[in-house]
């Protein structure tokens, strides 16, 4: 049995009286892409944010989250990230008032050499647009910047939240290509609604329903079962990759 890179056990999150996650348990394999699926509002983003320590203040988080031997829940976000937990949030969250180069520079860490070559090889556009304000980039370019920012440093695991949300089909394909290449060197826990992207990238799947894990297993198996995907996700899986 291969040791998982991340183990989530009995994770519960309560925010403003709402019990959003109710004992979520799953593991993330040390290679490839594990996708977190589910209908809107089942707690996918809440799960990622709880793992990286970004549950809103006042929210209660219970259970355990381990990356290797290290427990994550009590540690501040910046420490988790420095320890190799890369996070690409939903809606990109680039710093609109800063230039592309400044957004990247912000992600540099003392004592390490930022991998600009790797980032610019994946996203040549970022190199060309270094002096442009991030707020004036297109949605796809902002997504590339958000991913590129995280890839400047070595990561043990990447958490990527809905990277194709709101993007044009051509850009969705580009982002999926990049994530495919990234996943060759670092495991990814991906939240994604686009089943074509899921089919292309994911090896394992965890399906959430009403704050609980409803299904775990091989992602391709899940997508082959039309009835299952309909019941769990509310959509058919007849999507071409």
């Amino acid at each position: 049995m291969v040791e998982p890179v991340l183990s989530v056990a009995d994770l519960s999150v309560r925010i403003a009286g709402l019990h959003i996650l109710q004992g979520v348990s799953f593991e993330v394999a040390p290679t490839g892409v594990t996708v977190l699926l589910g209908r809107n509002g089942v707690g996918k983003t809440t799960t990622l944010r709880a793992i990286v320590g970004l549950t809103p203040r006042g929210g209660e988080v219970g259970g355990t989250v381990r990356m290797g031997a290290r427990s994550l829940l009590a540690r501040p976000t910046h420490r988790l990230v420095r320890d190799g937990l890369g996070y690409v949030p939903e809606d990109r969250c680039v710093f609109a008032g800063l230039t592309v180069a400044e957004n990247l520079r912000l992600a540099e860490r003392r004592g390490t050499t930022p991998a600009y070559d790797k980032v610019f090889a994946l996203f040549p556009e970022l190199d060309r647009r270094g002096r442009q304000r991030a707020g004036s980039l297109s949605g796809g370019q902002q997504q590339m910047l958000a991913i590129g920012r995280v890839l400047l440093n070595d990561n043990r695991l990447l958490l990527v939240d809905e990277p194709t949300k709101g993007l044009a089909p051509k850009v969705v394909t580009e982002v999926a290509e990049v994530l495919e290449r990234v996943a060759e060197s670092v495991p990814v826990l991906l939240v994604e609604q686009n089943l074509a992207v899921v089919r292309r990238l994911a090896s394992d799947a965890v399906v959430l329903s009403a704050g609980r894990v409803a299904w775990t297993g091989d992602a391709r198996e899940l997508l082959l079962e039309t009835a299952l995907t309909k019941s769990l996700l509310g959509v058919g899986a007849e999507v071409k990759a």
Binding site: V52, H78, V81, C93, F95, E102, R105
Partner: protein, 296 residues
């Protein structure tokens, strides 16, 4: 013509004072979401520390290089108090707005009481360099040197702050943190260090305002910080939370409006007009002249 020049330059002197207080207040609120009602205390500490140093600190004095040493001592004291306030009182209360307001309001009241208990409630004559009591002729108007000193100091502070924000790593972190603090931490940055730094910078600027305000008004009193803080808050809101440049524009608008209306209208009407300007800005542009747009 002479009157207009004089009013403009004295208005800019007042604007400079407001800017020195407001710039730190704006950065602290923009980055850390802390509404710091104790900011006036840093001004008071700076003013009294300068006043004390000019009379007691070896090497310091009321004139020449000694005065520069006294002001530096005041600025250092204000900055140190600001750092202590952040570390001891504010840090445990981040994201707890009501508690922060209670603590900072309480601290400002306690600070004024402490200054009163130590040096009395009456204004003290501030040790001013001789040249600061003289005037300089500008386009025929006799402008007090103390006002010009404030303008020069505020321009230098504005330039230094902009250079710091533009060219340094911490400046980059602060600019990013004003936009999205959470995302800064998600890039592996301990944003709390930046909080302490903006408190130190804000405390230093307010303390400088206290020292130079003492030169401008000729006296120092325990309540001076509190009364200036009201206008500094107005400047911050008009300029936009978190924007140093916005604070500079707003300070100039408030200073000039106050000075001209008080002169050509009735004394005190200028203050009312400033509140009117605040209301207009809040109605037409709630995020301020250069502030980030608030999302629901």
């Amino acid at each position: 013509m002479n009157t207009v020049v004089l009013l403009t330059l004295t208005g800019l002197g007042l604007a400079a004072l407001y800017f020195l207080v407001a710039s730190g207040l704006s950065l602290v609120f923009g980055l850390a979401d802390v509404l710091n009602f104790a900011h006036g205390l840093f001004l008071g500490v700076g003013a009294y520390a300068t006043w004390w140093a000019a009379g007691n600190l070896p090497g310091a004095g009321p004139d020449g290089l000694g005065f520069v040493v006294a002001v530096l001592f005041g600025v250092l004291a204000g900055s140190l108090v600001a750092v202590l306030v952040e570390l001891v009182l504010i840090r445990p209360l981040y994201s707890r707005t009501i508690e922060q307001v209670l603590v900072t309001v309480g601290l400002s009241l306690a600070g004024v009481a402490l200054l009163q208990a130590t040096w009395g409630a009456d204004p003290r004559t501030f040790p001013r360099p001789a040249w600061s009591r003289q005037v300089t002729s500008v386009l025929g108007a006799q402008v007090p040197n103390a006002g010009l000193l404030l303008i020069v100091a505020a321009v230098l502070v504005l330039g230094a702050l902009l250079a710091f924000l533009r060219w340094t790593r911490y400046g980059l972190i602060i600019r990013a943190g004003v936009e999205n603090r959470e995302m800064v931490t998600a890039l592996g940055i301990d944003v709390r260090k930046a909080f302490t730094l903006v408190f130190a910078i804000g405390g230093a600027a307010a303390a400088l305002a206290g020292a130079l305000g003492g030169v401008y008004f000729g006296t120092v009193s325990p309540g001076q910080g509190g009364s200036l803080l009201i206008f500094a808050f107005i400047v911050v809101v008009i300029g936009g939370m978190g924007s140093v440049v916005g604070s500079a524009y707003a300070a100039v608008a408030v200073g000039l409006l106050q000075q001209f209306v008080n002169y050509y209208g009735t004394s005190g009407l200028g203050d009312l007009c400033v509140v009117g300007l605040l209301a207009v800005v809040l109605l037409l542009r709630p995020q301020g002249l250069a502030g980030k747009v608030a999302h629901a």
